[in-house]
Amino acid sequence: MASTSNSTSSKIITLRSSDGEVFEVEESVALESNLIRRMMEDDCANNIIPLPNVTAPIFYLVIEHCKKHAEMKDNKEKKKELRSQGEELLKSDPHTYSNLMEAVNYLDIKSLMDLTAQWLADFLKGKSPRLIRELLKIKNDFTPEEEAEILERNRWAFD
């Protein structure tokens, strides 16, 4: 999946997802992950690197976004576009979002961490608690008394 770019000399790293799928990724892309970087520095990367916490579809998404992120470096339009994609993903598929977020956190990819964190932050901005609950399937488990107490504690934020 990796070698679509024109660099012929770039080293290929082989990774295996938790569900057994094997990925070949250009070194430059793989090194975006500090986890993989550390593993390679510790020299346990001569063979296939196992990623026991990441499934194939999620890993595919991670790679895709790493590449997008690299492409958009100096492109404000694309940056904006990528930032706005979070809203849609969180609305339609919060499960994939949380998997992606956890994978990115586990793989320790700074650029994608910033992006996915921004997605949820943007999503939470300006929405009413009721709407957030509904979209993210969060169950309100407060009693009316508890709820009243919380509202009272920070009344300014709920006016």
Binding site: P94, N105, I132, K137, N140
Partner: protein, 476 residues
């Protein structure tokens, strides 16, 4: 293929499972730090799982926009009920600070112009008591016009600080100040004594980036910062000296007043020796009236030392002949200069009215000063890009010609005219300019219209096609 997968997991999401609430704690608090505080606080009502998520946000940024509205449409001077606003704001921040459990890495409080300083004192007091050494970044700014804030001593005991910004404050170091061992960024716009500022700088051994707007007049400012890479100074200094800054590469000097000629007791001294000792710098910017500080006394032909590393020079000048001498002096001392940007400060209306009138021939002596008679010794042998902003009259061309005839590898020269110059005059200037002799055979002169400084910075906006000839290019 991917789409089907998304739909599959999407179906799982639709059956009502909450996947977001259990994201790792540290991830969640960094996410909530990106949200306006108001929205962050509102997440406490979502569910028991969310009740206390927001209280551990690491970055606390108070400004009225972020605090009071999630949209940014709140205007600073909107209403007559500022008094109400003050107590509401103060109360809200009080509540917030008392609930935050930390650790707080960044505390930023910017432009609460409506608040009185005792509120700030109280918050900083609370912060110091509860968070103390954990704070890495502390930013505090108020609006200059209104009042100066006396920064409490406790701030100077934050041992973990890496980044400190105090804007429009009065500072006084506590007697027991032990320095900031980890500080790398310092941005001050402050009233602070010479001794205190020098002590503060030298007690930050890792300082790399410093911007200082000094509101006090300093006889001589001594900067001792062995790791400094970026320096921006703005103020009125009789003299500046800098020692042990071998890593310094980027210097920007600005003064919005002329050298203080008339201060009783001491006249100004030239800053030529100061510029001359900036040995390793790659980029130098001399803004507003700073060039005047190099024109005090006799301007030498060259600086005391040759500065090999400088690649970028930016100067603003008012067009007095001595300034040209000062620029020539600098140019001769920077043999490897690649980029040069010159800005004529004719944008301040009224101030330089004389400039906009075309004057006749300049006299012999002045002509020499303008660079006309400088021998063509190709001293700009590496210069490949020049940008000249705000040309207003034909005599400006004399200096430009001097550059053209001394830069054998010049590739582009971009020209902007002053916005008060009429179209007809622009044509005359350009005609004259294109007739110039140049040392480089492939230099391209590009005219980009009137220069328009934006309100906030000095970045270039593109041409204004209505009043002036459109872009003219000439390749020789």
């Amino acid at each position: 293929m991917q789409k089907t997968k998304r739909q599959r997991v999407g179906a799982a999401g639709a059956c009502g499972v909450d996947f977001i609430s259990n994201l790792p704690e540290d991830v969640m608090s960094s996410i909530l730090a990106l949200v306006p505080l108001r929205d962050a606080v509102r997440t406490s009502i979502l569910s028991k799982e969310w009740r206390y998520k927001w209280v551990s946000i690491p970055d606390v940024v108070f400004n009225r926009d972020r605090l009071m509205k999630s949209s940014s449409s709140y205007s600073y001077s909107s209403s007559s009920d500022d008094d109400d606003d003050e107590s509401v704001c103060a109360h809200v921040v009080d509540q917030l600070i008392s609930q935050l459990i930390g650790p707080i890495c960044k505390f930023s409080c910017v432009f609460f112009s409506i608040l009185s300083s005792h509120h700030f004192d109280r918050w900083i007091g609370l912060l110091s008591k509860n968070q103390g050494n954990g704070i890495k970044e502390f930013v505090f700014a108020i609006e200059r016009k209104i009042k100066w804030y006396n920064v409490p001593h406790s701030v100077f005991h934050y041992q973990g600080l890496c980044h400190l910004e105090l804007l429009n404050c009065t500072l006084e170091l506590p007697p027991a100040f032990k320095g900031f061992r980890n500080l790398s960024v310092l941005n001050l716009a402050a009233k602070i004594s010479k001794d205190d500022i020098e002590c503060l700088i030298s007690e930050c051994p890792l300082l790399e980036w410093m911007k200082l707007i000094a509101f006090d007049y300093y006889q001589c400012l001594n900067i001792h910062a062995p790791n400094l890479r970026y320096l921006e100074l703005d103020g009125e200094f009789k003299d500046v000296s800098i020692e042990a800054c071998s890593l310094l590469t980027d210097v920007s000097l600005l003064s919005d007043v002329f050298p203080p000629w008339d201060r009783s007791g001491f006249g100004p001294s030239s800053h030529i020796p100061f510029i001359g000792c900036l040995k390793g710098i790659k980029s130098l910017k001399l803004k507003q009236f700073y060039l005047q500080y190099l024109c005090v006394g006799i301007v030498p032909k060259k600086l005391p030392a040759t500065l090999d590393h400088l690649q970028y020079l930016e100067v603003e000048l008012e067009f007095n002949s001595k300034e040209i001498l000062a620029i020539l002096c600098i140019l001769r001392s920077y043999p490897n200069l690649k980029q040069l940007k010159i800005k004529y400060c004719v944008d301040y209306k009224g101030r330089r009215d004389g400039l906009l009138r075309e004057e006749g021939d300049i006299s012999g002596e002045q002509a020499e000063l303008c660079g006309v008679k400088t021998e063509s010794d190709c001293f700009l042998s590496h210069l490949h890009a020049v940008e000249i902003i705000g040309i207003a009259m034909l005599s400006d061309l004399k200096f430009i010609r001097c550059i053209l005839s001394n830069a054998p590898v010049l590739e582009t020269m971009k020209i902007y005219t002053n916005r008060h110059v009429e179209a007809e005059k622009v044509l005359t200037i350009l005609e004259e300019l294109f007739r110039s002799q140049q040392a480089s055979t492939w230099a391209e002169i590009i005219y980009l219209g009137h220069y328009k400084a934006s309100q906030w910075d000095h970045k270039i906006k593109l041409k204004d096609p209505r009043k002036t000839p459109t872009m003219i290019k000439r390749r020789l």
